[in-house]
Symmetry: D2
Subunit: 141 residues, 4 copies
């Protein structure tokens, strides 16, 4: 059987599993996958020219997770080399919904996630995604 | 307006926010809430007499998160004193589904979660919840 | 043999080990002890009336770790109930040096630390410890 | 003034700062640097052919931190691109002492560390470093 096809259009980012990520069950601790997902989202933004620190400083906006649906399919282990993908499902003026996947070196999916992100100001009130960034993200779809 | 009523029957566990839990946005980092949820689940099991280390050692079982639906409603901040609740939604032979909530000192809900947990053996294969524990959990509903 | 005497004058704070704290070696991950040390320092400040969030907001000061010497004596494991102590070794106008210890339920020391903390402003420049706090800390010795 | 020269012979590993690494003070949380140090040590071992998971499984040995001296010189911030170095100070039959440094993109050192590591068996008893690895490490000096 072939490994499930990964959407070629998705952004992807490599992640390595270190001791810090594992727990006494011998596998990656379940909350750590959210860090992997966020690293990939951060690098996806950086790849289209937007660093999160600069976004907070210059545009006064942050991206805050509003909702997540997570399916844990198989555990990852120490030293595993994983790939994390990012795909835009929906882009709205002040929020976006992403489909993300964490994939083993064998091609097997370990976790799938639907992540809804809101653009907020520094007081955590919803605000529009800066237009220059929104333009890049709509191209990225 | 009254704060939303918290189900009095639910198990609850206090959590304090420390610097380790916060991020540069000034709020609790979104993955950290999963740690809070897990601390409450662990204490809920301990309250009915089952330590997780002992469960792994004596019965050879672990509880692994299979799926989560998370709604982030409001951010928590440094020094906040939070309450985390645990409620059984469904109890099956080899899995259980919990409803959990993280609540501010004001009574406002900050996060709601539906968490599906599988009972697995030390090779992460699904296995029955030990009968003595299943009995306690069915009473806890 | 008696467990080593813990200095009765020290402030102490209980900490429980959860899955989030452990690693695939089956023990508490070495960086996590620094979080335990910091929780105890935070509660020690709170016990004399100073919350860290309030200190940052009202007085514009933070406490930043400048140096640490850590000796890891024995590993802690899942579900262990630990005690973390705080003792003032030296109090200077803009810094303080603390002796801290993490102790097992058996009384055995697991980790000893000497921690040098600087009082800094929100730009991380050294600044005097607020006098009301310095007074409390000098009593605490 | 020139940035301090980094020992060209040292192993070095790049690390990026993400939100997960920062705290409400706006900088990298002090315990997170220990994770950066450990990632570099892990990659240094991998670079000479030894994965830690394989070492635990095949040779039954782990590397446990016994002692650390840490000097925090300057804070790192969100999105910073850091370099972590590893240098062998002393190699003994069952332990090694490393000098490590975390360096900003500007060349400025942010943290220096002396780390004493013991080779232990899976019960955390001191044991000899496997000879094939010891040979590689003595060449690496």
């Amino acid at each position: 059987m072939n490994p499930p096809a990964v959407n070629e259009a998705a952004f992807s980012w490599p992640v390595r599993v270190y001791y810090e990520d594992t727990d006494a069950g011998g596998v990656v601790y379940h909350a750590v996958y959210l860090q992997y997902l966020e690293r990939a989202r951060t690098e996806w933004l950086r790849a289209v020219g937007f660093g999160q620190r600069e976004l907070a400083r210059a545009a006064g906006v942050l991206f805050a997770v509003r909702a997540m649906e997570l399916d844990y399919l198989r555990p990852a282990r120490l030293d595993d080399a994983l790939t994390v993908t990012v795909d835009v499902m929906q882009l709205k003026p002040a929020s976006l919904t992403l489909s993300q996947c964490i994939i083993a070196a064998t091609g097997e999916p370990l976790l799938t996630a639907v992540v809804r992100i809101a653009c907020v100001d520094t007081c955590f009130r919803p605000t529009r995604i800066p237009s220059s960034l929104a333009k890049e993200l709509s191209h990225a779809r």
